[in-house]
């Protein structure tokens, strides 16, 4: 019983104790943040996304050895990058995404999920001004996808990004359902067997693919 009480006390007072790897606070904070994020229904508002990005960034500041809070902060900034009201605002969000990606890469180099994030940022940058940016960000998107696939062939997310990008690219530009569907199906196959490496590891993508598959016979 003494042990239990000690544990409880440690847990409660832990906020002021030096942080350790995977501290209970970290777990709690990540669980809270991910729950909020996963409970977004429909299209979350920019305020919601900014709030959650802030939340992950706060975790990241305390847990300087963890790449996941940085990763999720970056991911939410990518979503914001799609939503910004003008080019300058979109780029401002994407600058934040880049900053978080860089910080995450410093903690965890050679990480397939971060390669996916890199590709996602490149895609979002490109969409800001496709006419003028495809040249610069097209190859970056490509290299992110390729790196992710090589580092972890089982990861479905590079296929999610590649497939959805192809789906939204008109056929004349080398996209369209014909090109997208095989890639999206590959993504779904990989989701069937994919196991996240840890409890907070990224798991998104299936919901993005499902509505797109309707366009595939």
């Amino acid at each position: 019983m003494k042990t239990l009480i000690t544990t409880l006390l440690t847990a409660l007072l832990g906020a002021s104790a030096p942080t350790m790897a995977q501290s209970p606070q970290y777990k709690q904070a990540m669980t809270d943040a991910l729950t909020t994020m996963n409970n977004f229904r429909g299209q979350p508002s920019a305020t919601d996304l900014l709030t959650i990005a802030n939340q992950f960034q706060r975790i990241a500041t305390v847990e300087s050895g963890e790449w996941l809070p940085r990763y999720y902060a970056g991911l939410n900034y990518v979503y914001l990058g799609f939503m910004g009201k003008d080019q300058a605002e979109k780029d401002k969000y994407l600058d934040q995404a880049d900053m978080n990606l860089k910080a995450a890469e410093a903690i965890s180099p050679k990480n397939d999920e971060l390669a996916v994030l890199k590709a996602y940022i490149a895609q979002s940058r490109m969409i800001v001004d496709p006419m003028n940016r495809w040249q610069q960000y097209g190859p970056l998107f490509r290299s992110g996808i390729d790196q992710a696939k090589t580092m972890n062939p089982a990861n479905p997310r590079p296929y999610v990004l590649e497939g959805s990008s192809l789906m939204y690219t008109p056929a004349q530009f080398g996209g369209g359902a014909d090109k997208a569907c095989p890639v999206l199906k590959q993504a779904m196959e990989k989701f069937a067997t994919f196991k996240p490496t840890s409890e907070f590891a990224p798991g998104w993508g299936k919901q993005q693919v499902e509505p797109l598959l309707v366009k595939c016979k």
Binding site: Q25, T61, D91, Q172
Partner: protein, 730 residues
């Protein structure tokens, strides 16, 4: 077990009661609330985001003091020691310098760039503009400050002649940027627009980094990566070519080869020229890029071309009114640059070496008028960022070149070697975000003149509003006189121009308005005296004559005017249009001019209306361009007032379209253009037969384009499955 639950609740309650609720508000310096700012206590999980009024509220178990960390996108993050208490905290954040709130020096500069958000032009615009023929300089000629001179090569900027503008690739001057000029015919630039990621066209007052151009520099920066992968074939009415691109992780290579022959085009488009050898050309290029480290980049570009042309051209001095012209040109250009940076970009190096060799084997009738140049250039430049939030920097560099000029004048050979050296220094200083001052100085030495010059340059910009700014620039510019003068007189001095430019621009929501006014003073221009004992002599209007008279630097002149630019990509969805208007008033006393007069290359008013639109459903890009250049002076020997006559205005309506499709599984781009849709009989200038002794009136010949209405079609097929091309680029 109940009691454990109870105990936990107790502990939680105790702990909750020991918590303090922190409240406060985050605003900018002016007190406007910042919603969505991130607020936290350093080293803890305690924190929150501000609400729509910039207010925050969170609880903490910290006691006494803590550090409050506040961050907000686009603002300087701040840390503040606070005493834990329920008293509201108010924090003001300072906005970070960004492209919208920080001034940029823009006087005289017209940039086409992707990397900067606040530019009026994108690289793409060069290839999508109708009437530009995907030729870089033709498109630059549609910009404010530039004017169109149909029968001559070069960029004519604000009263400057074609020789007064230099084209610079990655910092290296290109000696022969255009295919060789045939009599009274403009030729294309040698470089493909796709090679470049950024273009900066200076219409005056440019940086101390560049010299030897009295009026303008066109700066072209090559791309860092390939745009395609694999093999491509291109065929059009004049040209067939192959391209190959391949990239690895840190290196890329592109190779092109082509053969051109204008026979098919001329068979379809009526020619105003009596061709004896239809222009024929062949050549190739090789680009190699290597990234040896994260920051370093080595680029190599080599190009070779060979062209042949023959015609009977209008020559009023000949009894038949025509002279046979034959020319074979050989051109080689290689350039290599290395860029790197250290200490997170605090130090940046740019070094380059280039060599060009150009030979024209030219005959007029039976006489040899061949010419050639060899140019070797080296350049190194170091930039030191002075840190801070604004981008203060110092730049120091040096360049040197050795150029050999050779001309054969009716069989008599002339040649000279000029060894040239320059050092330059420039600083960019921000006095706050609203005011930037760029000041520089350039020192030059030319061995053939055996003289030094020192040219100060200064430009400054002040931000007048969120979207608007004014800029002011002043500079002195020197240029070594044309080699043809120096063959006979090396005691000449540099020619000089002083520029004063005032600019206002406003860029808001994809609409741009810009007005620039300028005054240019020309001094030390070369004058030529062909009469006996150094007197003036009679004027010879032949543009290709050799200056055999006595020369000195007593010439002078001025150019003044203003340019307007309006671009709107917002008002009508999908439509992008721009309007440019340039006014110039210029007079000079130079060359063989007997009095101060407006030179024959000046057109007072130049207007360009450009529109383009991408039609998504048919994946086709279409553009329309209309240009008006008012008449230019021409020499009329029957008019006693020198250069008092004006040609009629030159107008041109042109159309271009490009379409993306597939042939089999291969990506294909088809393009078509029509130049001079209205079939206007434009006249660029008039030439007169020399005065005859029998008292008869001289005959007048009109000089116009090689063809009036003309069209062009072609296509590119990418053989690689990986090929990716954006039709909007074409």
């Amino acid at each position: 077990m109940n009691w454990i639950a109870l105990l936990t609740t107790c502990l939680l309650t105790i702990s909750a009661s020991a918590q303090t609720v922190l409240t406060g508000r985050i605003t900018d310096l002016k007190g406007h609330s910042l919603p969505g700012a991130n607020v936290m206590l350093h080293g803890t999980y305690d924190g929150t985001s501000t609400d729509s009024t910039g207010a925050f509220r969170f609880s903490t178990s910290r006691k006494d003091t803590a550090t409050l960390v506040v961050s907000y996108i686009g603002y300087e993050p701040t840390r503040q020691k606070i005493t834990i208490s329920p008293n509201p905290i108010s924090i003001r954040l300072n906005e970070l310098a960004n492209e919208l709130n920080t001034v940029v020096v823009t006087a005289g500069v017209f940039e086409a760039s992707d990397s900067k958000r606040m530019t009026m032009l994108k690289p793409m615009d060069i290839v999508t503009t109708a009437g530009g023929g995907a030729d870089i300089t033709s498109v630059m000629n549609l910009l404010p400050g530039a004017q169109r001179v149909g029968e001559q090569n070069g960029l004519f900027v604000r009263g400057g002649s074609g020789e007064e503008a230099k084209i610079v690739i990655d910092g290296m001057i290109v000696q022969n940027p255009f295919f060789s000029q045939s009599p009274n015919l403009q030729s294309r630039g040698r470089f493909q627009p796709f090679m470049f990621k950024g273009t900066s066209f200076s219409t005056g007052g440019y940086s101390a980094q560049y010299g030897q151009a009295l009026s303008s520099v066109l700066l072209l920066n090559t791309t860092d990566q390939n745009q395609n992968e694999g093999l491509g074939i291109s065929v059009n009415l004049a040209n067939a070519g192959l391209t190959y691109d391949h990239a690895t992780r840190n290196a890329s290579i592109s190779a092109t080869g082509y053969y051109g022959n204008l026979k098919p085009l001329f068979a379809l488009v009526p020619q105003n020229i009596d061709w004896t050898h239809v222009p024929e050309l062949g050549g190739g290029s090789l680009t190699y890029r290597l990234q040896p480290s994260r920051t370093g980049m080595l680029k190599f570009y080599g190009m070779y071309s060979n062209s042949v042309v023959g015609m009977n051209f209008i020559d009023p001095s000949s009894e038949m009114g025509k002279t046979a012209f034959n020319q074979r040109n050989n051109n080689t250009f290689v350039t290599s640059t290395y860029t790197d940076s250290w200490a997170n970009g605090a130090w940046q190096l740019m070094a380059g070496l280039s060599y060009s060799h150009d030979i024209d084997a030219t005959t007029y009738g039976t006489l040899d008028f061949g010419r050639g140049t060899d140019r070797l250039q080296g350049r190194a430049m170091l930039t030191r960022s002075l840190g801070g939030k604004l981008g203060n920097q110092l730049l120091f560099g040096s360049e040197g070149s050795r150029v050999t000029y050779q001309n054969s004048i009716a069989g008599t050979p002339y040649s000279l070697v000029d060894t040239y050296g320059a050092v330059f220094f420039e600083s960019q200083v921000y006095a706050g975000r609203k005011l930037a001052i760029q000041s520089g100085i350039r020192g030059e030495y030319s061995s053939v003149l055996n003289r030094f010059n020192l040219a100060p340059r200064i430009s400054m910009a002040y931000k007048t509003g969120i979207y608007s700014q004014v800029s002011l620039a002043y500079g002195q510019f020197y240029q070594t006189p044309d080699a043809r003068y120096l063959y006979r007189n090396t005691s000449l001095n540099y020619e000089r121009a002083d520029h004063l430019i005032l600019n206002y621009q406003i860029i808001r929501n994809k609409r741009t308005f810009r007005i620039e006014t300028y005054y240019k003073n020309y001094a030390q221009l070369v004058r030529e005296f062909t009469g006996p004992n150094g007197t003036l002599g009679s004027y010879d209007a032949n543009p290709y004559r050799f200056p055999w008279g006595q020369t000195d630097n007593t010439g002078y002149g001025y150019a003044k005017g203003f340019d307007l630019f309006w671009r709107d990509q917002q008002t009508i969805k999908g439509l992008d249009y721009w309007i440019t208007y340039s006014f110039v008033d210029s007079k000079r006393l130079f060359q063989q001019f007997p009095t101060l007069a407006t030179p024959s290359f000046i057109s007072n008013h130049n207007i360009a209306l450009i529109g383009k639109r991408y039609f998504e459903k048919i994946s086709t890009n279409m553009g329309l361009t209309y240009t008006i250049s008012t008449g230019r002076p021409y020499y009329n020997p029957t008019n006693s007032t020198f250069l008092a006559d004006r040609t009629p205005a030159v107008t041109n309506l042109s159309f271009s379209a490009s379409h993306l499709t597939h042939i089999g599984k291969n990506l294909t781009i088809l393009y078509a253009s029509v130049d001079n849709i209205l079939n206007t009989r434009n006249v660029y200038t008039y030439l007169y037969t020399p005065n005859r002794n029998d008292g008869s009136q001289p005959t007048r010949y009109a000089v116009g384009p090689a063809s009036y209405r003309s069209f062009f079609v072609g296509g590119i097929v990418m053989l690689s499955r990986k090929a990716k091309v954006d039709v909007r680029q074409l």
